[in-house]
């Protein structure tokens, strides 16, 4: 079952882990009593645990290797995973989506306000993920400063509301537009950059926006932030807290549906194909007559638009914002959502957002270990399924035998 080689390697791994965790988990110094507690049992746990995990990983690799060999020999026909079949076939996909939509519509009436609140947050990240997916997943531009546009949206509503009492519904398009403008602003200097260099510049851009918000007191009230932002009004009516949350939840559902609709139509369009081509090969893309500048700027602007909209919603939801909400960690989480879910795949990003946002919420019971578990999930995912939970599938076209026949 296990080869000697595998056992040996796993043993080494477990020894190494036992050694690494020794100072932290085994020795416990009590400075008051001046005693040292040796907790050898911890070492045993670590050793056994890492041994088993390492063994599992080795077995998994071996199996994959075997599969690859067999596939190369043409022995097995890869059967498509169930999820891909469902996503491909409209006759499964439409009923599924309607069912999911109905479930989400009745959700707040079945569960507590607390649960609804969490789900609102998760839905916000779904939108952010889908927005970043345009930039990273489709156009292949690694953007580490995505949170800047989120901040632009949030602050544009907060400031407009604070100074001019602008309502949520008017601020929503304004925030989106401002974020798009910032997207273009960032896009211009990075047109020539790719990969790592692009990542660094966008990272810097994100930090610049945050630092400006933190230090320009006259403009943004600095670290103390802006409070008392109004919640979205329902035809001029003041809503109680509970119904305001309910209202926001339905707004979010509508926004997510709208986002999915738009992104879905974009990705199989002329411009969507141009983005993917840009991701695949920039030089060939230009040689095929695609204007690199325009395509890149559109991607940045559109991605930023979504972040701007979610920013406005965020400000309206929390009624208080300060620069601490827009740190690099936010960008990293949104990027994780896209990468973990599956680059370029709408369904993947939705799953990614729900998992990454809901998991830490419900893992609160594990308190101290929740971030550890979170990290472990990320690492295992990247090892076992680097293409994400749901890989992107390209649209296929059917042709009838006759050449004159219509496409699709």
């Amino acid at each position: 079952m296990f080869s000697f080689e595998q056992l040996k390697k796993s043993l080494l791994v477990s020894l190494w882990f036992a050694f690494l965790t020794f100072p932290l988990l085994v020795i416990k110094v009590d400075p008051i009593e001046r005693t040292v507690l040796w907790r050898w049992e911890n070492m045993a746990f670590v050793a056994i645990g890492s041994f088993l995990i390492s063994l599992l990983v080795h077995v998994f690799y071996k199996q994959q290797e075997r599969r690859r060999v067999r596939r190369a020999a043409g022995g097995i026909v890869e059967s498509e995973p169930l999820i891909q079949v469902i996503l491909k076939e409209p006759k499964y996909l439409y009923p599924m989506s309607i069912a999911v939509l109905l479930c989400s519509l009745v959700f707040p009436h079945l569960f507590s306000t607390y649960q609804t609140n969490i789900l609102i947050t998760a839905l916000m990240y779904v939108m952010l993920g889908l927005g970043l997916n345009i930039v990273v997943g489709l156009a292949g531009l690694l953007d580490l400063g995505y949170v800047a546009f989120y901040a632009v949206g949030a602050y544009s509503y907060a400031l407009l509301n604070y100074h001019f009492d602008v309502s949520f519904w008017i601020a929503l398009p304004i925030g989106a537009l401002l974020a798009a403008m910032f997207g273009v602003l960032l896009g211009f200097p990075v047109l020539r950059l790719r990969g790592d260099y692009l990542a660094i510049v966008t990272l810097g851009f994100g930090e610049i926006i945050r630092l400006i918000l933190e230090n320009w007191n006259e403009f943004s009230q600095g670290p103390s932030g802006i409070s008392n932002i109004s919640r979205p009004g329902f035809f001029g009516m003041e809503l109680s807290l509970d119904s305001a949350i309910l209202y926001l939840y339905y707004i979010m559902i509508a926004m997510v549906v709208f986002t999915i609709f738009v992104v879905n139509r974009l990705q199989d369009s002329r411009i969507g194909r141009a983005w993917v081509a840009l991701r695949e090969d920039e030089i060939a893309c230009q040689a095929m007559g695609i204007d690199k500048r325009k395509t890149k700027l559109t991607a940045f602007a559109l991605g930023a638009t979504w972040a701007g909209m979610v920013g406005v919603i965020f400000a309206a939801k929390t009624t208080f914002i300060n620069p601490a909400s827009f740190t690099f960690l936010e960008s990293a989480i949104i990027l994780c959502i896209v990468v973990l879910g599956g680059m370029g795949s709408i369904f993947g990003v939705i799953v990614g957002a729900l998992v990454l946002i809901l998991l830490p919420e419900y893992l609160r019971a594990l308190s101290d270990y929740r971030m550890l578990a979170f990290g472990a999930v990320l690492v295992t995912m990247m090892i076992f399924r680097p293409q994400g939970v749901v890989a992107n599938i390209r649209r296929s076209y059917q042709f009838k035998p006759k050449p004159e026949s219509e496409g699709r």
Partner: protein
Amino acid sequence: MSRPVLQVDKLSMEFGGIRAMCELDLEVHKGQIVALIGPNGAGKTTFFNCVTGIYRPTGGNVFLNPPNGAKPIRLNGLKPNQVTEKGMARTFQNIRLFQKMTVLENVMIGRHCRTSSYIFGAVFRTRSTLREERETVEKSHLILQKVGLANAVNELAENLPYGAQRRLEIARALATEPFLLLLDEPAAGMNPQETQELDELINRIRDEGHSILLIEHDMKLVMSLSDKIYVVDYGRKIAEGSPREVSSDPAVIKAYLGEDIDA
């Protein structure tokens, strides 16, 4: 004779102090297949890159004369996508397909510069966008039939066998509706059977009214296809003429085989 479709005047390219190409003249006439040959590192691909706008040449001029009699177009300083829009498309020496896209989508990308729908049209699926999409799919499919890839439309480009990838590159370039096609070593790495098919394909493309400029190392292919051959070495033109003239030119023999010791 009418104006050449492609007219290159004293084109030079320097990288720092290195002269990769020195005052090269070249003409391609309508319906011709012209080959550019020379030993490795002679500057052939540099020539392609200068003409198509990937490099900015340091001297000389490139003119494109559309066969429909429109005004000559000066290509210097244009970006690659603008050059393609003017009617000149190219393939690459090391295959540069969009690997994670399907075969059909690769060709559809070629139609990008001949279509115009944008975000609004894509989101609202306006009538003109739908018509454009349908046309794009149909035309791309026709081109794929022409190069013999119609049964692989939904395959990912990376899964195609090597020879098919080469043909897909040609199909993609054809989709941009060029009157001049630049092929950079289309037969590289092909077996004799595939090369034979390629020979037929290139001839067919020419018969449809495209002019072709190609770089190629396979001498058999070059000799059977070309109407005219230019030979370059160390960035300079050392010979030009019909296949027969070139193959008996002493300078060419010297460049390819080295100098005779006794001479």
